[in-house]
Symmetry: C2
Subunit: 219 residues, 2 copies
DNA sequence: TCGCTTTTGTTGAAAATTCAACAGACTTTC
DNA sequence: GAAAGTCTGTTGAATTTTCAACAAAAGCGA
């Protein structure tokens, strides 16, 4: 666990909590460290969500597959981000998504009970933790909001450009990488892969952008 | 304010808080009561979000209008539901949506500062309030999730049926009303109104449902 | 009730998406 | 280094959506 302290300190869940406090807090929270090989399930649809996860290493995907087998990517989560807190906090009985390791990864699982119910010990920073969780959940909400802004667009081009402009702004540069390959980007934007490739080519020809693999540059 | 106590008690923000506690809590939170005529703005895009709102009477809409003037309805909120808490808690500098009165309505506005920072007085229920806000935000997250499930569908028919099946399940009946007229429903599902009308007619002819005004019955 | 406005349904044409199939480039594995 | 597999881009046909225009129906106020 101690190896991951620097990453844990960067996690939004533990922001403004010092190292020594963090150690006692972790003790009190009683998390479990788990490693998942690429492609394996961290949580599966239908599970009862009781824990939140913190990605310590690698990257995971939140996905959902409908009745017809169409995959939709809800989000990509990498270290030191948090996932699953929404469903656990909302106390739903059944997880509506799949959580899968996109690469080999290491995850810290923490029961939300432990987070929401301050321990009797002198964890003076537990309130800070709850405050952080609150902000984290609200921030997650904003992410959904952004995704809705994308999927509300009607054409592949608008969806793509909305996404690219957001990502450029996030990364503070006109040249940036996206965490998806073409198929995954299509699943995230909720469009057809071949149509997406065609649209990217068109934008390239029009001189709007360059794209090689997962690096895009807006011109 | 006292007139609205019964509604406030039903609000998810104040669940499991007794009437006397609620009164002192309200005093401590220092909310302001506001009335909005139909069609007027409660919050406007670009505002700095500092307050959450509780709908005491009437109904509001969370909408977003893009560059081209396409309106998208994010959610309909009616008494005794809460709105705006996400943006205020996430401390974003600028509200990305419009909040508008869909009918004449009455709203209680509360600064989130007051909610997140427990007062020094003996507000023993302030922790409960924060816990409620936490659950509320997580629940709001689920709503977004549901909307994403709808907009991730590719055809108008699938979007509509996904929405109707969800709503039927929510209301526990095959016959139910939706809070939108046709144009609003189209804006919520992110599809073309005339195409939506056409699809509803088709489903009617196929004997899948009946629809008159905003009442739908799945057969 | 009459007239006016809003809402809903219908239609055809234009535009866009999806789907399936394939070829070339690139990776990985043995 | 060859073979197998994966990823990306391309294309044409079928399907679907969007758009614009209009008519019928419903709601509203005088």
């Amino acid at each position: 666990m101690k190896n991951y302290l620097p990453i844990l300190q960067k996690s939004p869940l533990f922001s403004d909590i010092g190292e020594t406090e963090l150690l006692s807090l972790l003790d009190c929270l009683g998390g479990t460290l788990r490693a998942y090989p690429k492609g394996t399930a961290v949580f599966s649809e239908g599970d009862r969500p009781t824990h939140l996860g913190i990605v310590l290493d690698g990257e995971i995907r939140i996905t959902r597959t409908d009745y017809y087998g169409n995959r939709s990517i809800v989000a990509a989560v990498k270290a030191p981000q948090v996932f699953g807190e929404t469903f656990a906090c909302a106390e739903v009985e059944s997880l509506p998504v799949d959580v899968t390791a996109a690469t080999d990864c290491t995850v810290l699982l923490i029961g939300v009970d432990r987070v929401l119910n301050p321990c009797c010990n002198s964890c003076s920073f537990h309130n800070r933790l709850i405050y952080n969780l609150m902000k984290q959940t609200a921030a997650k909400n904003l992410l959904f909001h952004r995704k809705l802004e994308i999927t509300s667009k009607r054409t592949t081009r608008d969806k793509l450009m909305t996404y690219l402009l957001m990502t450029a702004k996030d990364q503070g540069s006109n040249s940036f990488t996206v965490p998806y390959d073409r198929q995954e980007l299509a699943d995230y934007l909720e469009v057809d892969r071949s149509g997406l490739s065609a649209e990217i080519s068109k934008l390239r020809r029009e001189g709007v952008l360059t794209a090689e693999k997962n690096r895009f540059t807006l011109l």
